[in-house]
Subunit: 288 residues, 2 copies
């Protein structure tokens, strides 16, 4: 099962990069792009990455064998309802949202077993099609969240699609996904923002002295605030749990500093270092 | 006032990079290197970055016009006492330590107004002379912490030295330095370690799914645990204050998530983003 015609709904950083990656790596696939605004479609046309573009979502969805929602989570339901009647029975529908439980609920209700959630762990602090890159997914993990009623053949086909773009595919439940990414994506974003806010509030002049470490540690805080606010609120419970774990760790370290000994704090840092050094380095280059 | 002979005490990442940078940018300066261990001096010899090497610190210090302590803070006093009698009256003594109050106390007592603290905000998560680079200081801020009795001419000469290596120089008191770097260097290090520990303790499998964001946000946690434990303990009061500010910020964000509205959390992230986007990008490339 391959996808002769792929509809990308929303050509931002992820949607645009998807179009570029499909063009480069999936031979023969027709690329259809929907955007709400005509000027976004002009950008798509300029980049020459689509065979068909329209501001009519149903028109783009009709006849597509794979439909990928690449828009903010809050916008998905309305667009899903717009295209519901145009989507064929054999079509697979997926998305690239950073939170899976609300998306699976919403789009699962509209598309039934045709919908499978995807989350490519790829992106950058930049936004918009201008930042799109064909290699954005190269070496990234893409998490799929099939449910009990999802046909195995559809899961295999969708996994093969992401693999063709250079991803490693992992499978888990929407709930397990949301818990995991709260710790490795949503919390790091909040921590980066909180590091900047802490300096800004306590000692703004200190920011002028920063070195590489602060610059890299806070890079993700340059991401779009509206998108991130939505992600954090949509994944509220897991994010709050992750924030709590972070606060507990910081409190523990603060207590270790009181003991005057370096032994325990060194062991805490050493364990973090061993773990960090075991992390796979993403193949793609960082934009910063 | 220039420095015809520069003694570097301790050829690790910073000392080795200093030797390389001086060789490249300060014409005619003799470079003298002390290391505690002979095998470290072999590495210095292999790199061809010193005119004179010895495991006898007094021998290296004798006749030097600028002496730079590039060793862990806890090792400075003993080495300072070893070389005290060999240091001439017109010599300037400085260091590259990440905390300034304890160093200024210790080395100030030994060298009097000949000592001026320096802290180049440059480094990487790597350690040792093998990671040394001539351009490590390029574009970095170096903070000097002269005291009331420090001769203005010495301060100007030391500032000119760092500027010759490509640094921007800032001046402040040791106390102001320690408060500022607690927020922009020591806290980010702890936050990176705590992010890793939070994931490790709550959901270690999540670490396998990480993307670029987590990788970059935690890069500094790969730094040497012994060195960082010492820095954190030496700057305990300011670090605890910074950790407290971070915890307050995270608690505030956690409360904002309860309100179900994205408006306030978006404004929090937007302010962090505006501030992050105003940060000067370090000229040097990140090793990661």
């Amino acid at each position: 099962m391959t996808f002769p015609s792929i509809a990308i709904l929303g050509p931002g950083l992820l949607g645009g990069s998807l179009a570029l990656a499909v063009r480069e790596r999936v031979s023969g696939a027709q690329i259809r792009v929907w955007a709400r605004r005509q000027d976004r479609l002009e950008a798509v046309r300029c980049l020459g990455i689509a065979d068909e573009v329209s501001t009519d979502a149903a028109e783009i969805a009709a006849g597509a064998s794979l439909i990928i929602f690449c828009m903010p989570i809050g916008a998905m339901e309305a667009v899903g309802l717009q295209i519901a009647d145009a989507v064929g029975p054999g079509t697979i529908v997926t998305d690239v949202g950073s939170v899976k439980q609300p998306v699976v609920r919403t789009l699962g209700k509209i598309f039934g077993p045709r919908f499978i959630g995807s989350h490519p762990m790829a992106g950058s602090e930049q936004a918009g099609i201008e930042a799109a890159r064909a290699d954005l997914f190269q070496g990234a993990v893409t998490i799929l969240t099939p449910e009990e009623g999802t046909p195995a053949e559809s899961v295999r086909a969708l996994a093969a699609f992401w693999e063709a773009l250079g991803c490693r595919v992992a499978m888990m439940t929407p709930h397990a996904h949301d818990e995991a990414v709260a710790l490795i994506s949503h919390l790091p974003h909040l921590a980066a923002a909180a590091l900047i806010q802490a300096a800004l509030r306590e000692n703004p002049a200190a920011l002028d002295l920063h070195g590489n470490g602060f610059f890299d540690t806070t890079r993700v805080a340059s991401g779009p605030p509206d998108m991130w606010a939505e992600i954090l609120v949509q994944n509220r419970d897991a994010v709050k749990k992750a924030v709590h774990a972070m606060i507990e760790n910081l409190s523990e370290v603060s207590k270790l500093l009181d003991t005057q000994e370096t032994g325990e704090i060194e062991e805490y840092l050493a364990e973090a270092r061993r773990t960090r050094n075991r992390l796979r380095q993403p193949a793609q280059k960082t934009i910063s």
